[in-house]
Chain length 468, copies 2
């Protein structure tokens, strides 16, 4: 069973012509701007070579036609949403056919009674949630990119976000999918019901598969009622990151379920101070806690008690606008890093109790390799985003990550695995994590994964070189 596509024989212009004939001019783009855009994502990395074409699908039928064409001509396919991924899974290169579902943005159904929505994959997460709010509902996955990322991309990467600590990851928020397989057949997997055990769970298999098993063309989403009660937001300064991490761990272990529980370390706070022109320096770490629902007031008081018991200084936001300012600071994390240099965005996760040890490991790597590693964490999930900031030449948008940065990342990954953690909590494997995957999964599981892929994609044309 080959997992690589056979070489493409006809030259690109002829293939582009054939593609236009098969799919129609209106959905096939081969202009330099479209091809150029499809080479990159939000990881800061860019593919070095140019893809064949971008299919801007308007319908499941367009996706099917594109995949039938790709199968016929043995062309590798790179499925793409808004291209906001952080691990390179959507980056397309030489000779690859990009199949974008970004233009499939319809919300086909919203059911308050069944707490579900049926949507096309291109709908933007925040747009969907704005619409759902009118029904008193929300879709829980809220990656930091929610204003620009698509629901289809969220599903393809099993995206996380700030709310996971209380409301779960994307896998827990999808009931069923329509998927176009490599050969162009469209299948439906999953259910419209909240329970269902007919056959193997192909829905879960598709979620987080990063475009290597099929192209998602429709999703039945599990929604939740908007939480009742007033939200309470607390910001807490700590002298050390270990104490802040411990506070987060103790908070969850004591049964408190904050809707948001974010941690910013000293290096992150320094960067944000400089970037935003405000004073957040001189503290070891900051926790950002938000409670919601009927018990928000009581949970907030309990959270404050935990914070104080570990030497933290809690402060409640006066109102929603005040709270929003805190989250804006948190959301400025990525731009504050970009202002400091080139960035490699990482995404490890450890059991919550290992958070203090993981922060200690980050400090050691920072010191040993002489690299700035500002870090924020979805602390309630044990999910950390160490960002490696370094100097690098950027040639035409392409950042070459120097070897010593990869070495530092390797040291950090090994520390994470020793603590019982995983290489990626929510960003995915893409191309950036592939070299470490075997360290975590082992040979037998890697072999199962490859053979699983071959079931769905026997010719190996779906996103080759990504994820597994």
């Amino acid at each position: 069973m080959s997992t690589e596509a056979a070489p493409v024989t006809p030259p690109a212009p002829e293939l582009q012509q054939a593609l236009r004939r098969a799919l129609g001019d209106e959905v096939v783009r081969t202009d330099p701007a479209a091809l150029r855009a499809a080479q990159g994502d939000r990881s800061g990395q860019v593919s070095a070579t140019v893809p064949l074409a971008v299919v801007e699908a308007r319908s499941t039928g367009d996706v099917q036609a594109a995949l039938r064409f790709a199968t016929e001509h043995r062309i590798p396919v790179v499925p793409r949403g808004a291209g906001t991924g952080l691990a390179g899974a959507a980056q397309a290169g030489g000779g690859e056919l990009v199949v974008s579902t970004a233009a499939m943005t319809r919300v086909l159904e919203v059911s308050r009674d069944d707490e579900l929505a049926v949507v096309e994959p291109g709908v933007i997460n925040a747009d969907l949630n704005e619409r759902l709010a009118g029904h008193g509902l929300f879709w829980a996955p809220d990656p930091a990119s929610r204003a620009i990322s698509t629901v289809g991309g969220n599903i393809a990467t099993n995206a996380g976000g700030l709310h996971c600590v209380k409301y779960g990851v994307t896998r827990e928020a999808v009931l069923g999918l329509e998927v176009v397989l490599a050969d162009g057949r469209a299948v439906r997997v999953g259910h419209r019901t909240v329970k269902g055990v007919t056959g193997y769970d192909l829905t879960a298999l598709m979620i987080g598969s990063e475009g290597t098993l099929g192209v998602i063309t429709e999703a039945t989403l599990r929604l939740r009622p908007l939480p009742r009660g007033e939200k309470v937001t607390i910001s807490a300064a700590f002298d050390s990151v270990e104490q802040a991490a411990r506070a987060a761990s103790v908070m969850v272990a004591s049964g408190i379920r904050p809707a948001i529980l974010e941690l910013l370390d000293a290096t992150a706070l320094e960067g944000l101070s400089a970037h935003l022109g405000i004073d957040l320096g001189g503290r070891g770490a900051q926790l950002l806690v938000q409670t919601d629902g009927d018990a928000s007031e009581r949970e907030a008081s309990d959270a404050e008690a935990v914070i104080r018991s570990l030497g933290g200084r809690p402060e409640r936001s006066a109102d929603a606008a005040d709270a929003e300012r805190l989250f804006e600071i948190r959301r400025a994390f990525h731009s504050s890093n970009e202002a400091r240099g080139a960035v490699l965005i990482e995404d490890v996760a450890v059991p919550r109790s290992a958070l203090p040890a993981m922060f200690a490991a980050i400090e050691r790597v920072q010191a040993e390799y002489g690299i700035l590693i500002p870090t924020v964490a979805h602390a309630g999930d044990g999910n950390l985003h160490p960002n490696f900031v370094f100097e690098a030449d950027t040639v035409d948008g392409f950042v070459e990550v120097p070897d010593h940065v990869w070495d530092a990342a390797d040291a950090l990954f090994q520390a994470c695995l020793r603590l019982g953690g995983t290489l990626t909590g929510e960003h995915g494997v893409g191309i950036l994590k592939r070299r470490w995957l075997r360290d975590e999964l082992g040979d037998d599981v890697m072999d199962l994964q490859r053979r699983l892929k071959a079931v769905f994609d026997p010719l190996g044309i779906l996103n080759p070189g990504k994820a597994i």
Copy 2:
């Protein structure tokens, strides 16, 4: 790729001898009582033929040895826990090797900090939860069989239960697994972290696979803190089952999250009245609601308002003992049916909004086929258990389901599928639902499922003829 095991050549006594030599006398049972017990489960059905032997595994090593033996001799393997399944997946027949993990009952770790437990598969659900209560934790899956079913069996069938409406099914309560593959290799899938997206989600694939992909030998379970606050229990009588079903649907749609939301229809209540010698008759249906957590009092008041608005008569339990009496009545449902005749236990699920329509369909099938179909529902999930009660000869424990009962079941399944539902919400496919599976999944998905199985079990020795 064959999905059936090759015929076994050596006669059974020689194979039994070889098995004893390979695994040791202490784990291999071939006495008639052990073989007889392995022919059945709790579905009321029994395999017509006798298995080869029962391996009572004490360790992962024993399971590996059994599967290596089975692979070498091409012997079909039936994994088994406590044998409490309701769909026949654990029933073993002629020449099959039963691999039981019921004796692997150790709890290897409980972490309050990380809200997880690492357990062997044979631990009984209720025993585990009793132990976890001492840590202030619980494992949410609570099938009606929880006093007698194993955690491994709960995982292998993706068991549901009364608490799913608030706390989710088994799939949402498992972080990772150790699994022995058909060829005897042991692999670890999943994580110790709550988030993790390295590779395809093999953990979800194993959950609910009914022993057809591997044998679970260890599980890392996701736990929850025991809910705070006083539980409030409400019983409500309705004149019609449609109104009761509507009340359940409206309750959830209005954002109330009861921990338990059960519905018993008139036929079920009549059977329970007769069986328990109490008076539950003369009403169209009964709802049983329990709220827990910080907002239990407020949610209970809201639930009562919904009940009244739909013509129901809510009554609060005076105390925990009073509430427990109500749940004892609910739990007597199965024995009340068995007292009425032979029983075929069903398990369909529909979108919540279709509950009233599904109850109407059950009434139609009941009238048309002249069969008693007492029904209870986990109403918050849209999951119904219509029980077909009929007269049948029981020969040596084996109940032959008459054709007209299967015809009635078929009519009910088709109604369920038309309402956007699924054939099994939580019991699994086993052998009893196999003939309808293609109606729900379609040819393409059936084909994917078979090829997926072949990745894990190329010789087709794992639970052949079950689930898919």
